[in-house]
């Protein structure tokens, strides 16, 4: 491209260890720039082929929210309780870990929903429920006219093609004794989609899509670096053309310089194949970059969900505010010292015996009596914004009295008011209503 091919040939021997095919950031489409037919054909897009301008062009802007996109997956009141057994010979069930306790959300077609929260908040369990690695205790997960929560394993099998998962750790999620070809091709054989003699062709096609050299199908995972292994995991997830991909911390095990390569690859895949993502991560900056919509979870519940601009710009839940304030910021270098942040005391309580009322109240600086008595509903307070807090408000302007009392028919201390009729709002529908509860006027408003 900018350099003569001889120069490239000269330096190739020095490029040991780096797979030349993995230049990190290629377009998926077949329309490669006409100047570089040889580069792509031989799968040796040298790093030196990419000058900065080209790279910048290929840099990916964050995905946009399409508010009209229909939901591909609609999760309603999903619950997962794991039994806790007593020790001894008779292992009685003595309690339940309420890992996921009644969450509702929608994943739009071709869009991405981000799921953030601290470890133990149930975000990974949610991912495993959607892929039906666990059978949920309650609730529904509507996908393509089927309720995934109720299907038997046999009925589930054909649908597994459509819901696939990318795992966090590329070192443990690939079988070290299988070749890449076997790993990526296994789903094809399980679902008997293509004749045996065409499996290899499809595998090579997939390897090419994720930016690996298709000739490497007979290598073993240990011959690849972390970023390349994650690409293998992504290729396996793509094998059956899924409609929904659950990505559980897909980049957190990777080096910083490789993270961006994989994030860009996932965005390419999304735009190319119109896949919907449930993107689970604890890195708030990556989620913000990848997902136009974000749900914040705390101890098995969604405490706030909304579009990216609202969640990151005007969060209303004290927990979301605390999470965001705790992210270290590179820009702080210009100022020096630590950024002001909201301090959360203590640890996340045990999900076996969660606090009454609002689960966050034990660590919340705004908590009052009502928070212990009444659980705040996940209330829609904007066009695409729901929050579960009695004292929901922007940072620095949390109301002095609970905003939910009129709806719930309780007084400011959380005791039921005689004669009051709680408004029967559909508080937990998976998507968004056209009308919502305005916090300032305490009235239902619409567009």
């Amino acid at each position: 491209m900018t350099q003569d091919p001889n120069a490239r040939a000269e330096i190739e021997p020095t490029e040991v260890g780096a797979n030349a095919a993995e230049t990190g950031d290629r377009q998926l489409t077949a329309e490669h720039s006409p100047e570089t037919p040889d580069a792509y054909g031989s799968h040796e897009i040298g790093i030196e082929d990419l000058d900065f301008a080209t790279l910048a062009e290929q840099g990916h802007t964050a995905t946009k929210l399409d508010p009209l996109a229909p939901a591909v997956l609609s999760v309603d009141n999903l619950k997962m309780y794991f039994p806790v057994k007593s020790s001894g010979v008779v292992r009685r069930t003595i309690g339940h870990v309420q890992a996921v306790d009644g969450i509702s959300f929608e994943v739009p077609k071709g869009g991405s929903l981000g799921l953030v929260g601290e470890s133990g908040c149930g975000k990974s369990t949610t991912g495993r429920l959607i892929t039906r690695l666990y059978k949920p205790t309650g609730g529904s997960m509507m996908f393509d006219g089927h309720d995934l929560a109720k299907l038997s394993a046999r009925e589930m099998k054909p649908l597994r093609r459509d819901v696939q998962m990318i795992f966090q750790d590329p070192y443990t999620s690939l079988n070290p004794r299988h070749t890449v070809g076997t790993i990526v091709g296994a789903p094809l054989e399980v679902h008997k989609i293509v004749p045996k003699n065409q499996v290899l062709k499809r595998v090579q096609e997939l390897l090419e899509i994720v930016g690996l050299n298709p000739e490497h199908y007979n290598r073993y995972p240990n011959e690849f670096s972390g970023g390349q292994r994650q690409r293998i995991g992504i290729a396996r997830a793509l094998t059956l053309n899924p409609k929904v991909l659950v990505a559980d911390e897909p980049v957190s095990a990777l080096d910083v310089s490789i993270q961006a390569q994989v994030v860009n690859l996932l965005q390419d895949i999304q735009s190319e194949f119109d896949v919907s993502f449930l993107f689970i991560a604890h890195d708030l900056a990556i989620v913000r970059h990848f997902c136009p919509e974000v749900a914040v979870m705390y101890l098995g519940k969604i405490v706030e969900i909304g579009d990216r601009e609202t969640i990151y710009g005007k969060p209303h839940h004290p927990y979301t505010q605390a999470l965001l304030s705790a992210v270290p910021d590179v820009k702080q270098a210009a100022v020096g010292g630590r950024r002001e942040r909201i301090r959360l005391e203590g640890d996340v309580p045990s999900p076996i015996n969660p606090p009454s009322g609002c689960r966050f109240r034990t660590r919340c600086q705004f908590a009052q009596e009502i928070c212990a008595k009444v659980e705040p509903p996940l209330l829609q307070i904007g066009q695409r914004h729901k929050v579960a807090c009695h004292f929901a408000g922007e940072l620095g302007s949390h109301p002095a009295s609970p905003v939910t009392t009129d709806l719930l028919g309780v007084d400011d201390q959380g005791s039921p008011v005689a004669g009051a009729t709680p408004t029967n709002t559909q508080l937990t529908i998976p998507g968004y209503e056209d009308t919502w509860y305005d916090l300032k006027t305490k009235q239902t408003t619409g567009v």
């Binding site: 790279l55 840099g59 900056a285 590179v330 640890d347």
Partner: protein
């Protein structure tokens, strides 16, 4: 290359005698080589840095860049049979390279301590937290009684913010949450008031809220004990908020070294630029692009010729001739000040940074800089 024999070592002198003036830790021309079946791997080469008491040095780099290997050399944790270490490491005036294992043991855990990334792996699962803390204390306080040690362990757990320390001291590591385990390990590291604390990815496995607590704790303790601290991390945000100086490592070498402000606001080495532009920022516009560093970190078995970053560098075409491929750039002062060192052949890094890199990573700062 052979390891430096133990000569004229000043180990007899107490390490803290001369800690107050000059840097507490001084590493000079450190080189660590491991012989392997495929040939020698030079994991660290020509590394020079220093940390003063009360200051924090951040070391940034990818896995395999030598950041952990160099800190383990400081701690004397390499097996001298398999690792060949040359150069000089002076901790509080004591030359550590070539020091006998017995003398090293006297320093380790006493004047210098290390905190590891994975607290679950670094704590012994069979022993109570308290027992492990007490052991660290008793090793260096032979005259102390068991009861003193226990009191000290409880005091340290309290210092790092473990609730009900007198009860939790008898817990096993698995009974602690991730954040508490990390605190317990910090307590163990600090139980002998070390003057040098090396934290190897102390918060990488933790949630942001816990991470913020641990970073607060490290800062408070540093202020209290006036320790020199080294933080090894790949999170530039942590570096920005914690470190006074930053050392950027690539393929075993220092590629840029300077104050945090210099490195993060006016970097002059393309690898540092790449790091900055490949991470998304919670504060940036959502249209900001992620520009990954192409390719993979090089194999140290056969490192690239010349500048080890050149196969991944998108700016090497701006350097005339084959300089990047043939010649290793020297670590020279950058334009922003003598304390700022960089290893790059680019003639006008500031120009390239302001016209090509800055518009991508922080468009709002472009006008300011001009």
């Amino acid at each position: 290359m052979t390891s430096v024999p133990m000569t004229q070592s000043s180990a007899t002198e107490s390490p803290d005698d001369r800690g107050s003036d000059g840097p507490y830790l001084q590493v000079e021309d450190l080189k660590v080589t491991f012989p392997t079946q495929d040939g020698p791997v030079t994991a660290v080469s020509g590394l020079t840095y220093s940390v003063e008491k009360g200051k924090t040095l951040g070391i940034v780099g990818e896995s395999g860049s030598g950041k952990s290997v160099s800190s383990m050399a400081v701690m004397g944790l390499h097996d001298t049979k398999s690792a060949q270490i040359s150069g000089s490491i002076r901790v509080g005036g004591t030359e550590v390279v070539g020091l006998s294992e017995a003398k090293m043991r006297g320093l380790r855990g006493n004047s210098m301590a290390m905190i590891f990334q994975d607290a679950l792996a670094a704590l012994h699962p069979f022993y109570k937290i308290g027992g492990q803390l007490e052991e660290a204390y008793l090793v260096h306080h032979s005259s102390a009684s068991k009861r003193d040690a226990r009191r000290k362990a409880i005091e340290m757990l309290d210092r790092v913010g473990i609730p009900q320390p007198d009860r939790r001291v008898d817990d096993f590591p698995h009974q602690f949450s991730g954040g508490m385990r990390q605190r317990a390990m910090i307590a163990m590291g600090l139980i002998n008031d070390p003057s040098l604390l090396i934290a190897d990815e102390p918060t990488t496995a933790l949630d942001v809220t816990v991470q913020a607590q641990i970073l607060d704790l490290l800062q408070d303790l540093q202020r209290e004990f006036n320790s020199a601290v080294i933080i090894i991390t790949h999170d530039l945000g942590v570096i920005a908020e914690m470190a006074d100086d930053v050392l950027v490592m690539y393929a075993g070498r220092c590629v840029e070294y300077g104050t945090t402000k210099q490195i993060l606001t006016a970097p002059e080495m393309p690898y540092t630029w790449g790091l900055l532009s490949s991470i998304p920022d919670v504060g940036a516009s959502t249209d900001a692009r992620l520009i990954p560093i192409p390719g993979n970190p090089p194999s140290l078995l056969r490192p690239p010729s010349g500048c080890s970053f050149h196969p991944r560098c998108v700016h090497s075409d701006k350097v005339p001739g084959d300089l990047c491929r043939t010649e290793l750039p020297e670590l020279v002062p950058a334009s922003s000040g003598t304390a700022h060192l960089k290893r790059c052949h680019l003639a006008d890094p500031v120009g390239v940074y302001t016209t090509e890199v800055l518009p991508e990573i922080a468009p709002e700062l472009v006008e300011e800089t001009r």
